[in-house]
Symmetry: C2
Amino acid sequence: MATIVDVAKHCGVSTATVSMVLRDKGRISDKTRQRVLQAIDELGYVYNQTAANLRNQHSNQIGLLLNDITNPFYSEMTAGLSQEMEDNDLMLFLANSEDAVARQKKFIESLLSQKAGGLVLCPAKGTDQKFLATLKRRQLPVILAVRDIEGTDYDYVGTDNFYGGQLVTQHLLDLGHRHIAFIGGDKASKNRASRMGGYMSKLIEHNITPQLGWMATCPATRNGGAAAMETLLKHHPEVTAVVCYHDIVAFGAIRTLRQHQLEPGKDIAITGFDDVPEAADTYPALTTISVSAREIGRRAGEALLERIRGNTEPQKRIIIPPKLVIRQSCGYTDPNDNG
Amino acid sequence: MATIVDVAKHCGVSTATVSMVLRDKGRISDKTRQRVLQAIDELGYVYNQTAANLRNQHSNQIGLLLNDITNPFYSEMTAGLSQEMEDNDLMLFLANSEDAVARQKKFIESLLSQKAGGLVLCPAKGTDQKFLATLKRRQLPVILAVRDIEGTDYDYVGTDNFYGGQLVTQHLLDLGHRHIAFIGGDKASKNRASRMGGYMSKLIEHNITPQLGWMATCPATRNGGAAAMETLLKHHPEVTAVVCYHDIVAFGAIRTLRQHQLEPGKDIAITGFDDVPEAADTYPALTTISVSAREIGRRAGEALLERIRGNTEPQKRIIIPPKLVIRQSCGYTDPNDNG
DNA sequence: CTGAAAGCGCTTACAG
DNA sequence: CTGAAAGCGCTTACAG
């Protein structure tokens, strides 16, 4: 395996020169550059990034930690980030925390040990500021994505969950619904709290008292949504519409509806959050909040790049405005006809 | 930042000793080990993997190249592989080729430059043996996943596409269908050819002449499926059932069906391939071929680990048997009633 | 515009 | 069971 030394010898220059043409740095005469390039070609030289990493004290690698890559929302986000990284010759380390802080910690320690250049973090449930503070000390640039953490000064890229919750609830109210439930999500989830906050604020605005029984937590999965809908149906038959924590929960809830021969959009209105690709293709297609996961990934990548390049501006919070996407899962007609 | 040298000095041993306790190698007396561990703790020493990578001439990093991480099939596979990697303290590089050989090449070159330990490759469309042969020379362990390439001796993990195509076609034939179409997938796709081969073999077995007009290629996306179904409906109204290249194509096709007020499973039978999570939650739920993407990811990881550890057995081909999953998209009743 | 040389932080072969 | 030292292949500060 040829090294930079071989290349240098082969064309009678120093290794410094070779290194410089390799990275387009410093002033090298065109003639020398050509000679070096040719030697590289002739020797089949391959740049050894591991040596550069050691010498540079940092690598061209960045991490992405997700809770659940299996959720299409995160796949889309990953695609957006991956694109951004590729365009900048950075390599992307991927790991799935599955919402376990222990896994998260392990991954981040590997990152540190690899001298990774940065991290896009969708923090696992239960991540505390203290943990982030230790990260801070280690000088690793971090961008928080999707899930915010209070009391940190890392940049954050996400959406306005409160407003999204309002948007979807207002839509249901406009359609005439008065008995509106909210299901799904973890009790400790801040995003859930915000979405539910938006939901409740709209109920109040319309003089409807939020009922505790209308609000149920559940794992943010298809099965979680299905189970939550099951108990909701049993105990609160008065409900005519349900706001789901996100699309995946909604899909599970719809499954339960169908098992009860209830038609979403006709017998009961249902909404999601995220606007995952599948949402447009279910039957009826899901009315939901579009959050542009891909855009979140892209913007997180951009923000991370800036930090890696040494930008030390104060904390930035990039909030991508949510949009209501009206499809068929809330029907077209006056819901009072059915409820 | 403390190094191994600092640790060694701090407890009066050599760096060799520290290195050895760090990696649980060689014989170190328990007393020495304890002293070293304590020094590490006291100094807040962090192992520098980049130095180890340079010294070892290879890293603890492996690559995963996908065509489309946005397809839930690949997300599931990624989750399976990621799990396997984590269990073995390997880091996973992810990249999306989007079926462009140029991107694929670039990623693999980065991997080589990083001295990655191996690669799980879902080759991009148009990958030729020649390219794989050069990889071979570079000594990078590679496992092919999902898409096979002829004329290479790399291990392969995938499913039996031909048999899967047969399974689904036989099901449709059993239900009484005689005019069965096959839509979706790229003309050059080997997997598509195999699935379609299975489909045709079953038609022939039942004395049905496969019609060219019943078989349409299309991009393997939702929109591709939707468009293909559109033209099929227009030109071949005699068709009562359609085998889709995979689930995502089927979801797009179903969208078109709905737009024409056609009910899948009643007016027309439709099947998928992959058994993506969504398939169980669409309405009607999709009859499809289960391929266990997660298992493919896991097995690919296992196979790669073996190769990394120096196993030089001849090429291994791991074929995970496909299973027919009957749901509602082909109906329950005699399809002749409708067609 | 180019060269000589130190050093990044490990691991391992060798000696004891 | 442990130590001294070479070397992995780069990059950069310095000198010219």
